[in-house]
């Protein structure tokens, strides 16, 4: 997981808990994979392991959406895909702008997972005039000067910030002023936005730091209680967790092949 979560206090939106909303995309991904394999129905148990969660949790999550299952059988895959998509708002078109076309911005532009979920990259924007006009993922890079016009013209309500930290707040302000009300921020800064604007944050460095913390703890434990596990051998109980959720039909993030 990443970091994010700069929402309004806890306005559980229309009764659906925030934690549930965060898991819906997970279920949707697993269901899409099943759908592509033409599996008609799935039990909460199967789907839960495929999504990497507890089956009781999954059932409770679905219960917030309504009673879409059949006792003794399970859930209809296609129907559930539709219901979750609709709940998440993926049945409509979401034009998105990406600001800051460096490696990360380019990775995002090329990311296949967007288009398949109703997200359409309306424009790529960068402050560097040398970049202007260059094609990235088939789209021409536009200059920051055009930001307001692009947002307004394409009715963009979701903006992605992949600029350096120093530029993030200004870009954010301009996006918001132009009409954007949801922002996905990859820059390592705390953005301040007016009320009513949602910000989610993804911070690569923070994720690594959290891993380092646990890693350090593990190392300390090993030293203190048992012999440091010989490197090269499988750690601790390598048994269990042998079940593999089937491969995911989703388009990868990036990379040649």
């Amino acid at each position: 997981m990443a970091t994010g979560r700069t929402h309004r206090p806890a306005t559980r939106s229309r009764g659906i808990p925030e934690a549930t909303v965060a898991r819906l995309p997970l279920y949707l991904r697993a269901l899409t994979a099943l759908s592509e394999r033409s599996v008609p129905t799935v039990s909460s148990e199967e789907l839960a392991t495929a999504a990497g969660v507890n089956s009781a949790k999954l059932r409770k999550d679905f219960s917030y959406l309504g009673s879409y299952g059949t006792r003794g059988v399970g859930y209809d895959v296609e129907y559930l895909v539709y219901q979750i998509s609709r709940e998440l708002g993926l049945t409509q078109d979401w034009p998105v702008v990406i600001v800051g076309i460096g490696n990360l911005g380019a990775a995002l532009a090329n990311y296949g997972g967007f288009a398949s979920r109703g997200f359409r990259v309306a424009a790529l924007i960068d402050a560097d005039p040398a970049q202007t006009g260059k094609l990235v993922a088939g789209l021409p890079v536009r200059h920051t000067d055009e930001l307001e016009e692009i947002v307004d013209h394409n009715q963009v309500s979701i903006g992605v910030i992949a600029t350096p930290a120093g530029a993030a707040q200004e870009v954010c302000d301009r996006l918001v002023a132009a009409g954007v009300t949801s922002i996905l921020n990859f820059a390592p800064t705390v953005l301040s936005v007016p009320d009513g604007v949602d910000v989610r944050k993804v911070d690569l460095s923070i994720e690594l730091q959290i891993l380092a913390f646990h890693e350090q703890r593990k190392a300390g434990e090993d030293l203190g209680e048992a012999v440091a596990a010989a490197r090269g051998a499988l750690p601790k109980t390598a048994a269990e967790a042998v079940d593999r959720p089937g491969p995911d039909g989703d388009v990868p993030a990036v990379m040649p092949a």
Copy 2:
């Protein structure tokens, strides 16, 4: 924020709650910025707003680390930077391998926030022979065949997976078998790992879907209760939240400039 959180049930490591650990990097970033501006001390209130959290929460978080503040004054910036760094394990060297050098992998390799936090990119690995030897961020891309040797030789315990979803589980298995015990996964798949291995997940598409959900809700609300806010105008109460946390001294994610 991103998604992640595939930890062991809830093993609050040595009394420090998981939620607190996740915020420590946030505090550290804010403190580093203050340190660069040579600010000697900071109150919980100031630091909290800079990090974008509640001041009571911040004080409680710090109380888990010990009593590092001075009543009536605040916290010593330098001292706190050191304590948090030590707690997170950032005072030691963490060699990291990045597997999958596409746009995203390259973005990660170029990401400055790593080096400044004790993370050292030990190697870049890709399955495409055509990529082998190419320089990315000053490092030569190595072939997947060398994975085990690289991990073993460099004593790598943290691996970053930025491959397509289809390749992620195999890469994961090989990393774990070679001795990696912490994995940061960018591929849109649920990885299964043996006990004792930590996995954190960052899923770009999921973040956008969560934003879309709230966006849809906002749109529905506007339609239902009030006049749809005229696009182009600042939404709702544009007042408040005018305080700006100072610019962050951190090195940006990517992008030319």
